[in-house]
């Protein structure tokens, strides 16, 4: 299954919540909020739009279905493709971060100072 990078942040966090195992809708919302230190607060409509798309793309699959208080509660899990897409996105972001925080940025800074003083 193909996917496009960069992934949108809510999509990234929805997939990230499922790394530890299948979760139902409200648990995904709470877990995404925890993982992002409160920054990502998924609205219910956004969550199900994302789940529909991720299911269609093969990144997420339905794991179980139960009835709680008279209502269907479905749990979703990460597929191998979803896991691969998530890791690829994490890798991309890590490489992008290293440009700023890692050795390349420091070397670039020194070279820039030399060029300015020469």
């Amino acid at each position: 299954m193909s996917f496009r990078l960069p992934m949108r942040e809510p999509t990234y966090f929805v997939l990230a919540t499922l790394l530890a195992g299948p979760l139902h809708g409200y648990a995904i919302i709470k877990r995404a909020e925890e993982l992002s230190n409160g920054r990502i607060r998924l609205a219910t409509g956004t969550l199900y739009t994302a789940l529909d798309r991720l299911t269609a793309e093969g990144f997420v699959h339905l794991v179980s279905e139960e009835v709680v208080a008279g209502r269907v509660r479905r749990s979703y899990g990460l597929t191998d493709e979803g896991s691969a897409a998530l890791r690829a996105e994490a890798q991309r972001m890590a490489e992008a971060a290293r440009l700023v925080t890692g050795g390349a940025a420091a070397r670039g800074g020194r070279l820039g100072r030399k060029a300015r003083t020469a």
């Binding site: 609205a43 219910t44 409509g45 969550l47 199900y48 209502r71």
Partner: protein, 286 residues
């Protein structure tokens, strides 16, 4: 059922009926859990995202069909709406005839009712029947109407618009799948227009132009999500204007309206094309 749940269910109506059937209870459960205790409405961002998510889900339905199939549905719905409008008018006319046949000197109201009922049935069969039943019912209605037109051409005429709409139904109904039940709203709204003169103040001359303008504006706004209603409305207005345009002698306002409505319908095909299956193959992203 609590007030919150009732309001959540109301918001879920933004989603198409099929989607609600599959996911409605699950989304409702999540929404109720995500709403803090004591609130009568969900959070503002939940309301906003439910509405936009519902509209997206509606738009996604179009992307399961090709442009041609969506166009056929829109044209069939527009033709059916016009026939429903015409049928309602004929029923009103037939009832008046039955009430005072001697004074008016008009044809047998029961024949008018029969023809109108058959046209109404043909319209209903677009949603529940096969193409063959639509054709057979429409042909029978047309035969009765034509025979009536021979009796009293000015009192009950089947002008070109009704015949054209019936031909459209005969040719296209059932070839593109049935229009969704939501289209029945359009049909129902235009079917009550003939009664509007009885229900509204007298300064609203027939036809109640304000209703038609409102319908046109609403369908234009909705074209961002789904361009089919604007095309269906254009088909309705074309059928509505065609007889007067053909009767006009000088520089005709009817022809001008026809040209404008036709142009709007032609332009609306472009967003419809973007909303249809071909666009979906290139448009998805994570």
């Amino acid at each position: 059922m609590t007030t919150l749940e009732r309001r959540c269910r109301l918001l879920l109506r933004a989603y198409p009926a099929g989607y609600r059937h599959d996911r409605g209870e699950e989304i409702l459960g999540t929404l109720l859990e995500a709403t803090p205790e004591g609130r009568a409405w969900p959070l503002a961002r939940d309301i906003r995202c439910l509405v936009t998510g519902g509209l997206r889900a509606r738009a996604a339905l179009n992307r399961q069909r090709t442009t041609a199939a969506n166009l056929r549905i829109a044209v069939v719905a527009g033709a059916a709406a016009y026939l429903a409008f015409s049928t309602a008018f004929e029923v009103k006319f037939a009832v008046l005839t039955l009430a005072a046949p001697a004074e008016r000197g008009l044809p047998d109201g029961w024949h008018l009712l029969l023809a109108a009922a058959l046209v109404g049935l043909a319209v209903a069969l677009v949603w529940v029947g096969s193409r063959r039943t639509v054709v057979l019912t429409g042909l029978t209605a047309a035969a009765i109407a034509v025979s009536l037109a021979g009796w009293v051409p000015r009192a009950f005429h089947w002008p070109i618009s009704e015949l054209a709409c019936m031909v459209v139904l005969a040719l296209l109904a059932g070839r593109c799948g049935r229009p969704g039940r939501a289209w029945l709203w359009l049909v129902a709204i235009v079917a009550v227009l003939p009664l509007a003169t009885d229900l509204t103040p007298t300064f609203w001359s027939f036809p109640p132009a304000a209703w038609l303008v409102a319908m046109g504006i609403a369908s234009l706004l909705w074209s961002v999500i789904d361009a089919r209603p604007v095309i269906a409305t254009a088909v309705f207005l074309l059928a509505f204007t065609l007889p007067s345009a053909m009767e006009d002698a000088g520089p005709p306002p009817g022809v001008l309206v026809l040209a404008v409505v036709g142009a709007v319908a032609a332009v609306a095909v472009w967003p419809l094309h973007r909303q249809s299956a071909r666009a979906a193959r290139h448009g998805s992203s994570s």
